[in-house]
Symmetry: C2
Subunit: 160 residues, 2 copies
């Protein structure tokens, strides 16, 4: 094992990304894995991550899985080497896009349906029908804003 304990720089990166993960209410293990991969010049395999982070196989694997799912970590096949290695994706646009695609876009898309159901639930003969229509319009406006915001957030982070 070349490394089995993170250095000063690596430790600080891990702490920094654990904090960043917390901002998005993501588990510590995700911040740890990304932070260590970010702070290490070569790709690491699962056992190296476990050894350097001092955490479990299951949790570390789950973190890698989630990070790959949003596109924040990539598999690296080193020629002639059995173990899978992993490397941090550094393009902020990709990171943001992956996160948004997974965590918020589905809700925004389903939102359209839910707004439709809400519209159907208004009884025109009800005394509050007009109030409810106003609220419905408000939600529709919000939905439009958010829908327009998503691509802009992805755009702004381009090429960094």
């Amino acid at each position: 094992m070349v490394h089995s304990q993170p250095g000063e720089f690596q430790s600080r990166c891990i702490t920094l990304f654990v904090r960043a993960a917390a901002v998005f209410s993501l588990p510590r293990s995700i911040g740890q894995v990304y932070g260590l991969l970010f702070a290490t010049p070569r790709p690491l395999n699962l056992d190296e991550l476990i050894a350097m982070l001092g955490s479990s196989r299951g949790g570390t694997h789950d973190a890698i899985k989630w990070l790959m799912h949003i596109g924040a970590v990539e598999r690296v096949h080193l020629p002639g080497v059995r173990k899978e290695h992993y490397r941090a994706e550094l393009n902020l646009r990709k990171l943001a896009a992956g996160y948004l695609r997974l965590k918020v876009e589905p809700h925004v898309e389903n939102g359209a349906d839910h707004i439709g159901e809400l519209a159907d639930s208004i009884d025109p003969s009800d005394a509050e029908a007009e109030f409810q229509s106003q609220r419905l319009d408000k939600i529709r406006a919000w939905h439009r804003v958010v829908s327009g915001l998503l691509p802009m957030v992805k755009q702004i982070a381009e090429d960094r």
Copy 2:
């Protein structure tokens, strides 16, 4: 008690905002309270919220407290009435600004300090010093992007 069970429209709004809260990893009770206030034409007091939501005093109070703290709910003093009443804030810009101010801005501001510490942790005589400097620059670039993004997100939702 004028109402003691939410109507169809109210129930759907509650469900919708509970889902929206989940997107931000916020507790169900926060979505419930905001949803009900949003869907009701007049301000409600704590006991009405408890009765209509079927949830506890403590949890409902905490939800109101948090929502007021980010500016998503306002206190309403009705003349000649003892109980405090509450009304939903409908301006999306205010909602977004309140949330960001509370949940992300502090981290972005502290981030500057943490980046400084990270910079100090690089040992120039280390073989990896150059790699680490590159990573540090990457973090600095990200920090700038995020810092610039925050005011833009607030701006975009203006006047709705």
